[in-house]
């Protein structure tokens, strides 16, 4: 059966030591992570940050918005083809403005979906956590099998953790 350990640190250097220690003890990089109440510089804890595909979302959204708006603006004008002042039925300039707004709107909506998806939210079962993380403590969390529990706990303790929780 697997268990989760959360070590709480006040000093970022100690948290980074714990992360290094876990890596050196042979734990796979996907099994442990660091939790903070504020963004730290990337790599401050030697943590693993997976690649993301966020930028595909706005591009996809923009294509959808552009297509829908092109259809909407064209179809509504063609649906009532009243020629005014001898001008073409399709008013390109006006269409471009509506299409621009709808393209941007769709890109923004898809970006937000992308941010939430790539953050792996909503996270219904967040796992082991401590409210003190949002007041300055740094949490190092690892999920291990029973036989590795002591080894992982020792690494975190020896790195100078203030407190350890096991669930």
């Amino acid at each position: 059966m697997s268990k989760s350990i959360l070590g709480l640190f006040l000093d970022p250097n100690h948290a980074a030591d714990a992360m290094d220690g876990l890596k050196e003890s042979g734990f796979e990089r996907g099994t442990f992570d660091v939790l903070t109440g504020t963004p730290y510089p990337e790599g401050a804890f030697g943590e693993y940050v997976p690649q993301h595909r966020l930028f595909r979302f706005p591009a996809f959204g923009a294509i959808i918005g552009l297509t829908v708006s092109l259809f909407l603006t064209t179809a509504t004008q063609l649906a009532y083809p009243l020629i005014t002042g001898g001008k073409p039925i399709l008013s390109i300039f006006a269409m471009l403005i509506i299409m621009y707004e709808m393209t941007m709107l769709s890109a923004v909506i898809f970006s937000v979906i992308g941010i939430i998806f790539e953050s792996r939210l909503p996270n219904i079962k967040p796992g082991i956590y401590d409210p003190r993380i949002t007041e300055g403590y740094i949490g190092v969390v690892i999920t291990v099998e029973d036989e590795d529990l002591n080894k992982a706990q020792k690494v975190i303790e020896n790195s100078g953790s203030e407190e350890i929780k096991v669930v």
């Binding site: 109440g37 966020l54 909407l72 403005i97 970006s111 956590y129 949002t134």
Partner: protein, 467 residues
């Protein structure tokens, strides 16, 4: 509580306790102020109901001035809304350090002022329910669809896009702070924040998305921000029949004017936040200093556009246009309004901002920012009304427009309404982004150069790959 850690940075616990003092507890002034505002807001709704019953006859609108105080106020609030993205997006992209305590307030101001602006065409329309036929893409029995060639149709599309985008932008930036609230509440409130925080734990993946996503959304919102007030300006600029409206310079002129008025409104709001919630450690004189410097540049650019607009109008020697400008600048009562507009919009505040003593004096910044917005409201009034009120050939009725007390009250109502919404928001969500504030403490330090100790800010840079 320990205010600073051993490296002289504000502790995160202290930041939470101070910046959540209006959310986790209620300031003494909050209930009386909200009650008073609620009273005025309810009266506004009653008056709106009366206007619906008796029609637009209760206003001063009549031939030939059909667009008056309501439309002026609509443009004014759209202008104020430009604060949010100007501050939040541009400063986020340029990584301006002083943005941190300002961004949330600016974003909220954007949302509530835009929502209020959207109400004004409804009030102005008289038969409010008929807006549905103007906006919603529907196929009526006669097969008529909304006319996409009209800026009056483009306008709500642009504003709705901006409002939706700004709200989503605000929500994404709120998620880490919602987690802070989740960790500090109990009972029903904890459940509420737990749902909204979406299970945020603060792992590196989530923080990376917060930072990258923030910049991405900023980049997407900027073009929308420019388009919104450009399209609002086209409500007037594409109308060839009204002198003073038909100007090609209107789009950038409106955008820069909106930034001037919006950033000034942020200054007003920040001063109120500092006084009301006592956030002296977070909203500091140097933030007002930075905003005043920005405003000086923006205001001067705006003044340039104001004179260009006048210059282009008279350069063509078109007699009706010159007659209109003469009326706008030299004839009573327009000349008085024009003078107040110039004094409050530029001549009084900007020279004041040239002095550091003024820029770092919160009371003076507060009052000068109020002056700017009086001027900017008058600017919109002077653009919209005189062109309609001037006697034109073949027009059999004309008269100067005098807004009724009804319209003045609805203008007053809009200020009460926006303030009320902000105060209600402040009881549920933090007005200053906590995580941004904490991030600034992580990245700040001080170094010794010779005998001087200099405060520094570190910035994360992408590593360049070597060949």
């Amino acid at each position: 509580m320990q205010q600073r850690d051993n490296q002289n940075r504000l502790s995160q616990k202290y930041t939470n306790s101070v910046l959540l003092n209006g959310t986790l507890s209620t300031p003494r002034w909050w209930y009386p102020l909200v009650s008073v505002l609620l009273f005025f807001v309810v009266i506004g709704f009653i008056l709106f109901g009366i206007q619906i019953k008796y029609g637009l006859g209760v206003t001063g609108l009549n031939r030939p001035v059909y667009w008056g105080l309501y439309i002026t106020t609509f443009v004014f609030w759209v202008g104020i809304s430009h604060a949010g993205i100007m501050i939040s997006a541009i400063l986020r992209i340029t990584q301006a350090e002083w943005r941190r305590p300002v961004t949330r307030a600016a974003e909220i101001l954007t949302i509530f002022s835009l929502a209020t602006a959207l109400v004004f065409p409804l009030i102005h329309a008289g038969r409010t329910w008929r807006i549905v036929y103007w906006l919603i893409p529907y196929d009526a029995a006669r097969g008529i669809w909304p006319n996409i060639r009209s800026p009056l149709f483009m306008d709500p599309i642009a504003i709705s896009t901006y409002l939706t985008g700004s709200t989503l932008f605000l929500f994404v930036a709120l998620i880490p702070d919602l987690a802070v609230l989740r960790d500090r509440t109990t009972g029903f409130r904890k459940g509420f924040y737990t749902i909204l925080a979406l299970g945020w734990t603060g792992n590196p993946r989530q923080w990376k998305m917060q930072v990258v996503g923030g910049i991405l959304l900023s980049a997407l919102m900027l073009p929308i921000f420019v388009s919104v007030h450009s399209i609002v300006s086209w409500d007037f600029a594409v109308t060839t029949a009204v002198e003073g409206w038909h100007s090609t310079i209107f789009a950038p002129y409106f955008v820069i004017g909106a930034v001037h008025s919006g950033v000034s409104a942020v200054v007003t709001m920040m001063a109120l936040m500092r006084w009301g919630w006592g956030w002296n450690d977070f909203i500091r004189p140097e933030h007002f200093d930075a905003l005043a410097r920005l405003l000086t540049v923006v205001a001067t650019a705006w003044l340039g556009f104001t004179f260009l607009e006048l210059l282009f109008a008279v350069y063509g020697l078109d007699a009706p246009e010159i007659a209109l400008r003469e009326m706008q600048i030299f004839q009573y009562p327009w000349n008085m309004l024009f003078l107040i507009f110039l004094l409050t919009g530029y001549i009084l505040p900007v020279p004041m901002w040239l002095f550091k003593r003024v820029r770092t004096n919160i009371a003076l910044m507060f009052w000068s920012s109020i002056l700017v917005n009086i001027g900017m409201w008058l600017e919109r009034f002077l653009i919209i009304v005189p062109g309609l009120a001037r006697k034109s050939p073949f027009v059999f009725t004309w008269e100067a427009y005098t807004p009724s007390w009804f319209e003045w009250y609805i203008l007053f109502w809009s200020f009460c309404w926006v303030t009320l919404l902000m105060l209600l928001f402040s009881r549920v969500f933090p007005l200053v982004p906590l995580f941004e504030q904490k991030e600034s403490e992580v990245f700040s330090d001080s170094i010794k150069i010779g005998r001087a100790t200099v405060p520094t800010i570190f910035r994360e840079e992408e590593e360049e790959e070597e060949d």
